[in-house]
Symmetry: C2
Subunit: 458 residues, 2 copies
């Protein structure tokens, strides 16, 4: 009995000590991020000296080379590339669109959806049918849709607190709408931009066709509201829509994931990965999508190295290639992980913007393990207000890892979500819309979580 008590006390003491050490380590991580942070200036370089970097583009290659050099400059244990073949889609000339009301024409802002085909050189002019769901296509049927431009106009639902949920539930219009409309004989598709904000910026993003490919573009929310109200005011045959785009698919190109590693001192073949995607849409600088993510991931490693932290497990920062229109980089990373028999403990993805951290979402963690980290880790993150540790979440670059390493815990970094879809995939996604402290707090939150996972596992 006495020995049991002694052991209990010893355990209590050891726990308290570990807790104090963790608390101190996390404070040091935050101080380094907030006082000597490098991710904001690195992001500035990526946005201003490289800029848009869609897969297969010359800029994407520049970003790969610069990213590798930058990693090498920090003196990590290992910096390397993973070859990956990626789609190479180009937008071509600036798109044109107008609503035609008899002899009156009103120009509206559109942009081709990523992976869309071009219109004929002279553009497409056709009657428009407004729909609000894929189901509605079925209800209307071929007779009504054939020969028309289908206009998907279901808006974001503002009642979701997390805007990602609104994106998720409105997104099928962009992802699947063009492929589905084509089945019913549509000649083109116009999709309301996936955002709640009402403005003149069209939001691009990938679409996925079935067998038939028809030209597809996003229209700004102001343009969508105008088109919708004109369709309501006037009988349909009077209103036509014209659009022209010259985008095309070039042959697949060789590109790379860019990876930096701190070697694990105890378990070099066990990995904790933190990553974002290096490629970005072509309309702006890919600042919040996902320049912030790659620069934060690198910063996690830089912070740990600067603090002279020797991890038990190997820790990697990964700049994934081709998240936006193919996810080939994430798939390749998982493929090589399986081939090389790497044991992956956890992977964190940061691809929801560089906004103030709120916490993390976990997939592949048992309910009891989630409860445990909420008991033990949440109080450590609470002073930094990054302590929402919830079930669910991940990211498209790290999800393929699950098949390679079924026990891996997939973690989505959760920043504040309110501003992301104001900027997402538009010409507004520029460096000026990133806040330095918000960005830095995010890298510190992720470095803290990586530290806790490395120290304690799940």
């Amino acid at each position: 009995m006495k020995i049991k008590l002694l052991l209990s006390l010893l355990l209590l003491f050891t726990t308290a000590l570990a807790n104090a050490q963790d608390s101190l380590a996390i404070r040091k991580i935050y101080d380094e991020a907030l006082v000597n942070g490098k991710c904001y200036e690195n992001l500035h370089y990526l946005c201003k000296n490289i800029g848009p970097r869609l897969s297969g583009s010359a800029n994407a290659q520049k970003a790969v080379e610069w990213g590798k050099k930058l990693m090498e400059s920090y003196g990590f244990d290992h910096v390397f590339l993973q070859e990956v073949m990626v789609p190479h889609w180009v937008r071509g000339e600036k798109e044109q669109a107008k609503i035609i009301d008899g002899t009156k024409e009103i120009a509206v802002p559109i942009c081709a959806l990523g992976m869309s085909v071009a219109t004929p050189k002279e553009g497409i002019t056709a009657n428009v049918i407004e729909v609000h769901s894929l189901q509605e296509l079925k209800t209307l049927g071929k007779d009504v849709i054939k020969g028309k431009i289908v206009f998907f106009n279901r808006p974001f639902d503002p009642r979701f607190i997390e805007t990602g949920m609104a994106y998720g539930t409105a997104g099928d219009q962009r992802f699947l709408g063009p492929g589905e409309a084509a089945k019913y004989g549509a000649v083109g598709v116009i999709v309301r931009s996936l955002t709640e904000i009402i403005d003149d910026y069209p939001h691009t993003g990938a679409t996925v066709y079935g067998d038939i490919k028809i030209p597809a573009a996003a229209i700004s929310t102001k343009g969508a509201n105008l088109l919708s109200s004109m369709l309501k005011m006037r009988k349909m045959p009077l209103i036509k829509f014209y659009f022209k785009q010259s985008c095309k698919q070039l042959p697949d190109a060789l590109s790379y994931n860019v990876i930096a590693e701190l070697k694990g001192s105890e378990n070099p073949n066990k990995f904790i990965t933190v990553g974002g995607h290096l490629d970005s849409w072509d309309l702006a600088e890919g600042a919040n999508d996902d320049g912030t993510g790659v620069m934060q991931s690198l910063e996690v490693l830089r912070i740990l190295k600067t603090l002279n932290y020797h991890p038990k497990n190997s820790i990697r920062a990964v700049f994934f290639m081709n998240e936006e229109n193919g996810e080939k980089g994430g798939i390749k990373y998982a493929e090589l992980a399986a081939k090389n028999k790497e044991e992956h403990i956890a992977a964190i993805e940061t691809d929801e913007g560089g906004f103030t951290p709120r916490g993390f979402g976990f997939t592949g963690l048992s309910a009891s393990a989630l409860k445990k980290i909420n008991k033990e880790w949440k109080p450590l993150l609470e002073p930094y207000e990054a302590d929402r540790l919830i079930a669910g979440g991940g990211g498209s670059d790290i999800e393929p890892l699950v098949s390679a390493a079924p026990s891996v815990v997939i973690i989505g970094y959760l920043p504040d979500s309110q501003r992301y879809f104001d900027l997402h995939h538009t010409a507004k996604d520029v460096f000026e819309n990133v806040n330095k402290r918000e960005l830095e707090l995010g890298s510190a939150a992720m470095a803290s979580l990586v530290y806790l996972i490395d120290q304690h596992g799940f």
Copy 2:
């Protein structure tokens, strides 16, 4: 024993029912705020059709009249003004400043601190002494300081997670620095702008003199860094500073708090107040400071009325006058509360910007009551991510209430703090830097808290 069990079950059932009702009520509040919200368009009007509205100005009077009319248009039970005399300070012509390095002159951005006196017409030119604290003045003494311009240059400490803490700890330089430096014979004071961001915008804000008044201005952080580095590079006598400002204090003016009320059905003389301040600095539109606060406060009442909620206690939205340079409105509100024997249960202040809600800080709540609301209310607010219910907090407009109603609970609304001091008291505090959803979520969070207090008390 059986009856006890029955009573326990009944209590459990009643609690669960109350909980379900609360949960539903809060969901309705959020839906109304996010789907039919009016505070963003109201804020637009205040910023663009009225604009800067420093106490005593014609714009402040316009804001009072418009605010009252707006309240009346919503059909609340009672809308009224409270007379209050306020200081009337005017900036005068645009300030000028330069660093003089021998024959070289470099213009730097400054603005007079609120309530500062003017320089002589020809400006002030003097040697500069850089200091980092009020204590340093004492150490240097009169011999060193006399005849010089004191340059307070202690930067924000980036290690604070909440930026308000950095403001609090750097703020004495602006609040007290000029008055203190005057005691040692300084001829003028230049204060590093109270922000972490490095840019060209000077941040104004009130200073409080002692007996001797000397001209005092804020310099942009870029200007401060330049001045500091030039002082380090060159021997001091070579570097002089010139500045000119023509601000002045006019006679006190009559102004008003603007108040809307929903009458309590059970306790009409018990009050829950939610408020922000209507006055704003003169350099911009006072969008985040504190247009967002007044428009959110009004929105709280509008939401409750629209949902046909009949409060037990009287609920007030208060547009306080003169928070920025005198706090006369808050003092008057407390004075009249005492005079009219009003019983104040709680007062919420929203004056930290219209950013995403994180929660609330409570002063005047016992530890057990705080624990209780963390047990009962936190889970209700958690789905809305506005669930940090912490000790401490309030606001300068509601703090005077404590002397009038010692049992009042003083509550500070806590939005995300990262961007506030980028804009605070500068020409950048404009409507465009407010996000619609962030603003709306704040009004919903406050309406929810008002509802919970009204239903359950503390």
